[in-house]
Symmetry: C2
Subunit: 559 residues, 2 copies
């Protein structure tokens, strides 16, 4: 091993936020390291900060410029915040993708929809199968999480072994898939000392040890057994284990079970096709469900986060696919509300309340458990892996900071590495090697745009201030041809003086432009500035707001 080789870690997304996980490892001479990418995830847009945006992902320009140095892409599991950007960003990287069979199957479905080649996604068995990717040797180690076949990665390099935890919890009985195995992880740490543990930080503030997925069966069975009317339950579509627990509880209570929502049906289908799920209770299609009496029926539906078009929201608005909730029914949110979605979820809960439906949620923790390791679980992981260094990931800054502190209590040297911080892991402690320009890219309709392009900023301005459009036509002498025309959108029609606002603006424009100096009238910029000033002045007087203004000056003389 040449002394000039180094081992680097570079988060491009997911470090300093929960979402859009995108991590890079490199090994080799400085600036010529061979690279691997771990996960290409998305984060979700919201009306408040990213109106109209479909998906948010990491800006991978740094990777794109170094595409010839990338050996491979590894996806730890099929949650959208780990795989959601793969199809959108893959055309920029065009490297082989490795994942376990369930994750790979989900990835291929996405590639198929986008018209991308599905054969670049290769299925990998779990350890001891090993992928050689340049200087890296990578193994997938099964961990429990809230989706089938989540994996930690063992990344062996000439500079030492890295354990990339992926999203995990210490659950020996996860209902679907392999449970977490302490023995396995002790073996991994004993086999080769671990240089660095890159570790999930989501629940570092949760003080009690996490609970097993299996612990939910009894409360959920009890709840559904005691229900009189229709039972509807929602959870994350990809939480196949939960779907199974819910469906089994429905069947045990003598109910027919119907899955509503495309995402959920797809997850169950893929889980069955890949052999991950073998004994899911029988379900009936919705066409058949509408014929079943409500006390004998259970619906399991999408939309636990209040998504407008998902089944939960549809049912809260009334009849959906022939189904309608009413007095005496039960609706179970077997899920937690992700911060930012509270208003949407509460709106739905209240709509159900208006229908007389009893709504249960995760208050009290009886009907939902998290998929992430809690604080004591993280401590156990530190103890088992005994890494030389701890680099927290998958967390907001406060999570990363707390996780470094937690590691320090055991004497593990840590580093808060946020997006764009390239960390040199070669020596005895993590060193910041470089700050890489990072950012976000938005999927807007069918186009990828930069977060700083100004498009979203303009949309927010339009939403806050409204829009005034002015058309001014000038003749060959730069004199106004007719009156200026003002169209308003997103603004009150009538203000203080109780006359139409657009009329007042047009009158004022006509007056001012009729007597404006020639140097203003012949200069587009000056003219636009004058028009903008007048529009805003009238608006402030009349409605106390300054709208966005767009001016179109048409000069007929120029024809």
């Amino acid at each position: 091993m040449s002394v000039s080789n180094r081992l680097i870690y570079l988060p491009l997304g997911g470090a300093g936020e929960i979402g859009m996980n995108t991590y890079v490892y490199g090994y080799g001479p400085e600036d010529r390291e061979r690279l691997i990418v771990v996960d290409l995830g998305v984060t979700f847009a919201d009306m408040g900060t990213t109106p109209g945006i479909d998906l948010i992902m990491a800006d991978v320009s740094w990777l794109e410029e170094r595409a010839d140095r990338i050996e491979a892409i590894f996806i730890t599991h099929a949650h959208e915040d780990h795989i959601g950007a793969l199809g959108h960003l893959w055309p920029r990287l065009k490297k082989r993708v490795y994942a376990r069979r369930f994750t790979a199957a989900i990835g291929r479905l996405k590639f198929d929809e986008l018209g991308l080649p599905t054969d670049v996604i290769q299925t990998v068995a779990s350890r001891p199968e090993t992928i050689e990717a340049g200087p890296f040797r990578v193994q997938f180690v099964p961990v429990a999480h809230s989706i089938p076949e989540s994996a930690a990665l063992i990344i062996d390099t000439p500079a030492g072994r890295i354990v990339h935890s992926g999203d995990f919890k210490l659950d020996p009985t996860p209902i679907v898939g392999e449970g977490w195995s302490e023995v396995l992880f002790r073996e991994i740490a004993a086999e080769t000392p671990v240089k660095a543990l890159m570790c999930d930080s989501t629940n570092v503030f949760s003080p009690h040890a996490g609970r097993s997925e299996a612990s939910l069966a009894d409360p959920i069975h009890g709840l559904i057994a005691g229900a009189g009317g229709l039972v509807v339950a929602t959870t994350f579509a990809s939480n196949v284990a939960r779907l199974k627990t819910l469906a089994e509880a429905g069947r045990a209570a003598g109910r027919s079970v119907c899955l509503l929502g495309r995402a959920m049906q797809r997850m169950v289908k893929v889980a069955e096709e890949t052999g991950v799920l073998t004994d899911f209770p029988s379900t009936i299609p919705v066409e058949q469900a509408v014929e079943v009496s409500r006390q004998n029926l259970m619906l399991i539906v999408t939309g636990s986060q209040g998504e407008r078009r998902a089944a939960t929201a549809q049912l809260s608005r009334g009849k959906y696919l022939g189904m309608e909730l009413k007095e005496g029914d039960l609706f179970l949110f077997s899920s937690k509300t992700i911060p930012g979605n509270e208003r949407d979820v509460l709106r739905i809960m209240n709509a159900f309340s208006e229908m007389g439906v009893d709504v249960m949620d995760d208050a009290g923790g009886r009907y939902h458990v998290s998929g992430h390791a809690n604080r004591p679980d993280l401590e156990l992981m530190h103890e088992i892996i005994k890494p030389q260094m701890l680099i927290p990931m998958h967390g907001e800054h406060r999570h990363l900071r707390e996780h470094v502190k937690l590691g320090a209590t055991r004497g593990i040297v840590g580093e808060i590495a946020t997006n764009g911080m390239m960390i040199d892991l070669t020596g005895d402690r993590p060193e910041v090697a470089e700050y890489v320009d990072v950012g976000r890219v938005y999927l807007d309709g069918s186009v990828l745009i930069g977060a700083m392009d100004g498009v979203v900023r303009d949309r927010i301005r339009l939403a806050l201030n409204g829009h005034a459009m002015v058309s001014v036509i000038l003749d060959e002498n730069d004199d106004p041809l007719g009156d200026a025309w003002v169209e308003l959108m997103g603004l009150p029609e009538i203000g203080r003086s109780e006359k139409p606002l657009a009329d007042l603006m047009e009158t004022e424009l006509t007056e001012v432009l009729g007597s404006a100096p020639a140097k203003v009238m012949r200069d587009d910029d000056k003219l636009e500035e004058t028009v903008r000033r007048i529009i805003r002045q009238v608006a402030v007087e009349e409605i106390g707001k300054k709208p966005e203004v767009t001016v179109v000056v048409s000069r007929l003389a120029e024809e």
Copy 2:
């Protein structure tokens, strides 16, 4: 008492939501009842559903049309969700306003700012002082809450006694102001049987008895005594008791205390001027605070909900009024995050984390208590008041529903009365008398607009879809004069074919309009429809989105 008289209750806001409390009581012959109004509050806008809106309040058209029947307005306390609309809606009602001295003083400040007559707000002492308002006799009864001088109202009518709880908690030691007195409420119930209890429902889902404001002193003192660097704490500006506890803890730890934020300074000033607050620790102005070493200083600041312009958010962005947080400082959120504000608050916590500041919040319940009665407290209130009927208020639908159920366990007949449901209380049980059209009114800049006016709907559309403006000029023969002009806002500049989107639209418009049939070209509606269709078609092809389109057709022949 004539048989034809009736006693009615009509919530116009606050029933089916938490916010904009606006309640009406009436007594008299049907449709000629004399009316009183209790509270005129606001709710806050958010970017997601009400972009650009300053405040949201109940539509009081029903009251305005019956202004001659209104006897008076009563304000229970000075929280914005109870008093915030008073100044904006008073000009429509113009009736005398009654409140306790602290609330009245806050009301007069608001009236003064809006140029309204302050002398219409009359200060009322607490029970036994009684306001005669037509058939109503009203007393203010002190209750503990998270603001000084909150009051329940005893409303005596010829048809019986009503207890309107206001916002309350069962706190005998609220630090500032009178504590809740069980004796007093037992006396009220013993004096005259209570026909109806209109009751705060906010915390009906909180299973444990509420804790006293006084219980926070020890944990807060301990936390601050142990801090090494600068200490900053935030809470709701109007929680004068909390401000006192915080300031005392700071002083006890040998720190100078500085209040940052206009709202907070104003609340303390008014509380002192009205005699509600007598022994607030001495504070120093910010000009002096910048000279104090950080281990000897404590700031108490506004902005616990992450409001952009408040001190907390300002400090999270860097230097503010000469103050700057750094490694080793402590920031305490002595507050809870109101649903919907999570993202803003978390963003700030993470910014502090990046500065190396230790952030404490109400997790674990050590540094914050709620101002509302919890479930067991509500049960005790029911037991004490023994009302014939229970009408829950101050809650979302799910709260009202649960509260009715809770009352039913004690055999009290209840009714879920949401905004617009007029309830006849005259008989032995509440009866829905009528459904009144209700809605919301928005303060937008300086103008009040209806929630259904379409202004906000248009803003949301602009934000989601972006805006394309098209100017088309036609000559006297309805032929296009020059090319169409397209301006885009909030849209990507470049789409699939990598050419400027506006150019592509202009080219397509020129082509289509150049060969459009005369019947299209001479009809504004048909022409606009054609233009809109072309714009959207190009946009869908290029960027996969359908923008909002505004078309300005100028016909020079019409001059």
